[in-house]
């Protein structure tokens, strides 16, 4: 370090090299300088002093000027630029309106500080017994806050801090000003120098503390924190240990909201601008053990490397606070967690490079209209490495998809970068299973994309209908969907879902699920049904009784929350020779669906006379658009009076069912259907 002092004539009179040391040593050095510069008298005459530059890894002073006017009893210290412990100040000035300097003593009373031309809210009182190497510095902030620092003959410096306002301090410490710090600090600080080995101890309490970044995304309020710091020099650096007990207040650290409770115990080393946190243990509600280590570049305020290990975290308590805001901020309040997780992760330059998570009986569920999804209890190990392929093995003991319960299954996922690949997973469902094969998913900025195949091993319809709360149906449901594709906002299921039911079958193809997790979620498909036994169908839905078979096409079907929004549906009698009878009640029900005037008066009188009627064919078409069903009947069955034939009678006795309302409000139609079904409760016949 180069030091130069000049006499009033500007001639350099002292020049030399100084060993490395802290700022307090510099203070000693300045005192020494004053002593060297002073004439051999008990009181100094007028004095001007300047130091061009003092530099040290932890300290830099440029253009220090000192003036003392003994006749006026005033002194002034100016520093053009000062860097100390990573902080920078410019145009610092200390005015002492009552100053006294002698060989034995140095005094500054009513001292005022200014930085950058602005007065700082501090008053300073300094008395220094230069001969006895003792002294006292009192700094008062005018709002009841005081720092009383005493320099003892053994070279130690002890300070008592009472109601020290962080707000006042912020005018002095730019770093605090950036964070809008507030609150009061009470405590003690101590600096000891034992033969070149320095030691610093600080302990105290912050009350009513607060801070906020400019955008408010990192902030704390009403904070109460107990702080202890102990540091000593070793091999050119500082070994330190610290504890922080947070017992009051709350903090938002985007995206997490945290409340008082955590206690931090940490130790490490500081050398130059490099801060090493060797071991930090955090006591946190819901976590058995949380430990961290880090390497921080203070000059850049950058965490170069960090590692975190977490043991026995109770997901029910930790999940909503720390996982939900990360996994699904839009639906954070709909996510539920259970079980426990242990994890280790490592970050380099703020980027995750390693993650290991071990789940024990963990459970995850997402509530949604229709039941949502749930998985668990789930156990297993999920490892992930940046730039390296890994395999996660999870055992899932069950789950739920909407109203359907899922059985236990194992899931092996190959992970690489942002991609995940599942070779095969068989998820038991009722008495069958959903099988996923070759499922490759990739996380992109807009969401998940990927492709694979899905199959549904036959599920028996009595179980499906029971699980979905539908009338009991016989038959099976299976699916082969080799063209499963996923992209943000859409799931495409190319292939077919086949339900063999009512002695015929129903085949759904062109399945698309759009916006699967949003309010606008809908499913579209084309459904064709062939040779459905009307006797079974009508009995199942308690619609009276119709014997015969139908084919149905429901094209362009769109379901939102399982409710039809659009389709073009056509029902016709199947080809072939078979018995075609319709019961009186079924006729009434069809008429009721058509509203008033659905049946000719003549036929109405006929209806009461017979239990069943013969028919030649039936046909009905409904094109649903904009909540209105455009109805028509059997092809070529339109009547001159505007009616359309739904059932063409045949045999004895025979009757036609004629519809007259071509535009039917869909909601009204559904209401009528529900009324009809509710009023016709009859035993299920298979």
């Amino acid at each position: 370090m180069l030091v130069a002092a000049r006499d009033p004539a500007g001639r350099a009179f002292a020049r030399g090299r100084r060993p490395r040391g802290g700022s307090v040593r510099c203070f000693h050095f300045l005192v020494l300088l004053l002593l060297i510069a002073s004439p051999p008298a008990s009181a100094f005459g007028p004095m001007r002093l300047s130091v061009e530059r003092v530099s040290h890894p932890a300290l830099e002073v440029r253009d220090l000027r000192f003036e003392y006017e003994p006749d006026e009893g005033r002194a002034r210290l100016e520093i053009a630029a000062l860097r100390l412990a990573g902080q920078r100040w410019s145009r610092l000035r200390l005015d002492c309106p009552q100053a006294r300097m002698s060989l034995q003593a140095l005094e500054c009373r009513g001292g005022r500080l200014r930085a950058d031309g602005r007065p700082l809210p501090f008053r300073l009182e300094l008395t220094l017994d230069t001969a006895g190497r003792r002294g006292q510095l009192v700094i008062a902030d005018g709002a009841g806050g005081r720092v009383v620092a005493r320099l003892a003959t053994d070279g130690s410096l002890r300070a008592k801090l009472s109601r020290l306002s962080l707000q006042s301090l912020a005018s002095w410490l730019p770093a605090l000003a950036d964070w809008q710090a507030e609150g009061h600090f009470d405590g003690e600080a101590e600096w000891l120098d034992r033969g070149g080995a320095e030691r610093i101890r600080v302990r105290g309490t912050l009350t009513g503390g607060g801070f906020s970044s400019a955008d408010g995304l990192r902030a704390g309020e009403a904070l109460g924190v107990e702080l202890e710091l102990d540091a000593h020099t070793r091999s050119g650096g500082w070994d330190w240990s610290a504890s922080l007990g947070w017992h009051e207040g709350a903090s938002f650290w985007d995206p997490f909201y945290l409340e008082a409770g955590p206690v931090l115990e940490a130790s490490g080393r500081l050398r130059g601008d490099r801060l090493e946190v060797r071991q930090a243990n955090v006591t946190l509600d819901g976590v058995e053990r949380l430990a961290a280590s880090a390497s921080v570049d203070l000059a850049r305020a950058h965490v170069d490397e960090a590692a975190l290990s977490l043991a026995g975290a109770d997901l029910a308590r930790v999940g909503p606070r720390f996982l939900a805001p990360l996994l699904s901020p839009a639906r954070a309040d709909q996510l539920r967690f259970a079980g426990s997780v242990s994890a280790g992760l490592r970050l380099v330059d703020g980027t995750l490079v390693e993650l290991d998570a071990v789940f024990v009986e963990a459970g995850f569920s997402l509530a949604a209209p229709g039941g949502g999804v749930a998985f668990g209890p789930l156990s297993g190990h999920l490892p992930w490495r940046a730039g390296e392929a890994t395999r996660a093995r999870l055992q899932i003991e069950g789950g739920r998809w909407g109203k359907l319960a899922l059985g236990a299954f194992d899931l092996e996922v190959a992970l690489a970068g942002t991609g995940a690949h599942v070779e095969r997973a068989r998820v038991p469902l009722l008495d069958g299973a959903v099988v996923l094969e070759g499922l490759a998913l990739r996380r992109e900025e807009a969401g998940w994309s990927g492709s694979g195949s899905a199959f549904v091993e036959p599920l028996s319809m009595p179980l499906v209908s029971e699980a979905l709360g539908l009338p009991a149906m016989t038959g099976t449901l299976s699916a082969s969907l080799p063209g499963l594709r996923l992209r943000p906002g859409e799931i495409v299921l190319d292939g077919a879902l086949v339900v063999s039911v009512f002695d015929g079958y129903l085949r759904a193809s062109g399945l698309r699920v759009r916006e699967p997790f949003g309010v606008g979620a809908y499913l579209s498909a084309d459904v064709v049904a062939r040779h459905l036994d009307l006797a079974q169908l009508t009995d199942t839905f308690s619609f009276g009784s119709i014997s015969g078979f139908i084919d149905a096409d429901v094209l362009g079907l769109e379901l939102a929350h399982w409710r039809p929004q659009a389709f073009d549906a056509r029902i016709v009698s199947s080809e072939g020779r078979y018995r075609k009878r319709i019961s009186q009640r079924a006729v009434q029900n069809i008429s009721a669906l058509g509203g008033a005037g659905a049946m000719a008066a003549l036929q109405r009188s006929l209806l009461g006379l017979f239990e069943t009627f013969g028919y030649r064919e039936l046909g009905l078409r409904c094109v649903l658009r904009g909540a209105v069903c455009e109805m028509s009947g059997i092809e070529d069955g339109d009547l001159a009076d505007g009616g359309f034939r739904i059932i063409r009678g045949g045999g004895v006795p025979a009757l036609d069912v004629i519809g007259y309302n071509r535009r039917v409000d869909w909601k009204e139609l559904v209401d009528r259907l529900q009324r009809v079904l509710a009023e016709n409760v009859s035993p299920v016949v298979r």
Binding site: S212, A214, D215, G216, L217, A219, G220, E221, A250, S251, F252, D254, P255, F256, Y257, P325, S328, P329, A330, R331, A332, D333, A446, P488, G489, E490, R514, E515, F517, G518, V519, G520, A521, Y522, E558, A560, Q565, A566
Partner: protein
């Protein structure tokens, strides 16, 4: 201007602006559901727009720009609200493109909406222009 009128004006403006390339006022059950959800949410977002906590971003989403005016305990919920609104906005752009039978128009729809949200923002609201936030 009340919220519903504001949204109505906005949507009308979109429809005329995009008439050349498609119908932005096109309706579908999904679009209706999304608009309904967004209108409901707007009642909770409007005070945040007015307070400057949330602004109209240049990419057709909304963003938290200054959370200071929001009580600390609610900042997480504001994040959730923003995430939900953005999920719906992106779904709306996709749906409008799909309903026009041109899913590939999604980016154009989004760009047009982004500009219009900004143009139609009320005085005092914050909007993103040229990468920085500006108060209208």
């Amino acid at each position: 201007m009340n919220i519903k009128r504001w949204i109505a004006v906005l949507l009308l403006a979109f429809s005329s602006a995009l008439a050349a390339q498609g119908n932005l006022e096109i309706d579908s059950p999904a679009i209706a559901a999304l608009k309904g959800a967004m209108q409901q949410r707007h009642a909770r977002l409007a005070p945040l727009y007015a307070a400057g906590a949330v602004g109209q971003a240049a990419d057709g989403t909304i963003a938290l720009r200054d959370a200071s005016s929001v009580p600390l305990a609610q900042r997480g919920q504001v994040n959730s609200l923003i995430a939900a609104e953005n999920a719906d906005r992106l779904a709306l752009y996709r749906e409008i493109a799909r309903a026009n039978d041109h899913p590939e128009w999604e980016a154009d729809v989004r760009r047009t909406f982004a500009q219009r949200w900004i143009d139609r923002a009320q005085p005092g609201w914050w909007v993103q222009r040229g990468g920085s936030w500006v108060r209208k």
